[in-house]
C-alpha cells in the first residue's frame, strides 16, 4: 500500500467547485442545442420569457405556431409542466423561435400595434371554448363587448357563463383578446392575468398610455 500523503488544507472530498466552468459556457451550448434541435425537428415546444407592463410573460410555441401566453401569477414552471404533459415533454428554452411573437407584443405594448399577425396553435382548446376564442379577435382594438354580447356573437345567446369560462381558460391571452370582454354592468369581470393587468390593457387600448 502506498502511504497516503498529508494534503494539508486541500479539501479531501472533490466538489464540483474544484472543476470550475467559465461563466456563459452552458448558455452558449444551450443556444447551440436549440438550433440543432430545431434542425432535427425535435423542438416540439419552445419558449422564452418577456418583460411587459403587465409583468413577465411566458411565450411558448409549437412547430405550428404560438400555443401559450402565460402570466407570471400562473407560475411558469407549472405552465411548462402542463405543456409537457399535454403537448410534448420535448420542451426547450429557445428564444429565437419566439422572436416574432416577442416583437409583436413589444409593439403592442408600445401602442404601435393593434392586431397580431402570428401563426397560432390552438390545440390547447377544444369545443365551445375554442369556438368562443376563435371569435374574440373580431372585437377590435380599443373596443369591448360584454360576455352576453360575445355569447350572441357566437350564436349561443344563453351560454353567457360558458363564454366566461372560455375567456378564463384562454391559452393565448393578449394575442386572443379576452381582456376586451366585460360584465354587462361595465365591471371588469375576471382575468387570468389579474384585474390590474386587464385594466392596464384596456387603458393602453383607449390611448391612455404608451403611445410611443
Amino acid at each position: 500500500m502506498t502511504p497516503m500523503p498529508e494534503t494539508g488544507a486541500v479539501p479531501s472530498a472533490p466538489t464540483h467547485e474544484s472543476f470550475p466552468l467559465e461563466p456563459g459556457a452552458l448558455e452558449t451550448l444551450h443556444a447551440r442545442l436549440a438550433v440543432r434541435a430545431e434542425e432535427e425537428g425535435l423542438l416540439e415546444v419552445s419558449y422564452r420569457t418577456l418583460d411587459s407592463p403587465v409583468g413577465p410573460l411566458l411565450l411558448a410555441s409549437t412547430m405550428q405556431g404560438l400555443v401559450r401566453v402565460a402570466f407570471e401569477r400562473e407560475g411558469f414552471d407549472a405552465v411548462l409542466e402542463t405543456l409537457a404533459a399535454r403537448i410534448s415533454p420535448r420542451v426547450l428554452a429557445a428564444p429565437q423561435r419566439l422572436d416574432d411573437a416577442a416583437a409583436e407584443l413589444e409593439e403592442y405594448f408600445a401602442g404601435r400595434r393593434r392586431a397580431f399577425d402570428l401563426p397560432l396553435d390552438r390545440s390547447l382548446s377544444s369545443g365551445f371554448r375554442a369556438e368562443v376564442q376563435q371569435h374574440l379577435p373580431e372585437i377590435a382594438y380599443g373596443r369591448t363587448l360584454t360576455y352576453r354580447e360575445v355569447a350572441e356573437l357566437v350564436g349561443r345567446p344563453r351560454a353567457v357563463r360558458a363564454v366566461g369560462t372560455a375567456c378564463a381558460t384562454n391559452p393565448l391571452p393578449l394575442v386572443v383578446p379576452c381582456h376586451r370582454v366585460l360584465r354587462s354592468d361595465g365591471s371588469l369581470g375576471g382575468y387570468l392575468g389579474g384585474l390590474e393587468a386587464k385594466s392596464i390593457l384596456l387603458d393602453l387600448e383607449s390611448g391612455g398610455v404608451g403611445a410611443a
Binding site: 456563459g24 451550448l29 409542466e81
Partner: protein
Amino acid sequence: MTMREPFEQAVQRHGETVLRVCRAVLGPGPDAEDAWSETFLAALRSWPGLDEGTNVEAWLVRVAHRKAIDVTRGRARRALPVGDLPERESVLGNPGERSREVWSAVAALPERQRLAIAYHHLGGLPHAETAEIIGGSAVSVRRAAADGMKTLRRAYAAEAETDGEPR
C-alpha cells in the same frame, strides 16, 4: 409512466455535470462541446419514451460516455476536408485562469485516472458502474480515481505555495 417533465429541466439540472464529464474525458475544447451537444440531442430524442423513474443524471452520463466514444472515433476521420462546418466560437474563448489550469491538469492525467474521475467523481456513477464503462474492476476504478485526485490535489498544493512566495 413515461417522462412528462419538460426537457429543459434536465438541461438546467444536469448540463454542467455532463459538460464536466465530457471535458474530463475529451479535454477542454471543441470535442467536449460536441459530445455535450450530441448527448443532449440524443437525450431530447429519447426523452418522451424514458421511464419516469429514471435517474436522469446517471442516464445522461451513460449517453455522454457513448457520445464521447463517437467523438473520439470521429477524430481519426477529422483529417478529411469537411465542406460545411457550422460557424461557431468555442465556449472556451476566454476561460478563467483557474478553469484553464484545472482542466489542463485533468487532461494531463493518465487515461484511466481521467476516466475514473470523469464518470465516478464528476458523473456520480458508482465504482462498479464506472468499471462496466471503462473496464477493470470496481476496486481498480476506486484506486484510479483516488490516484488521479491525489495528483490533482498535489498540483494545487504546489501551485498555492509557489503563488505565495516571491520569485
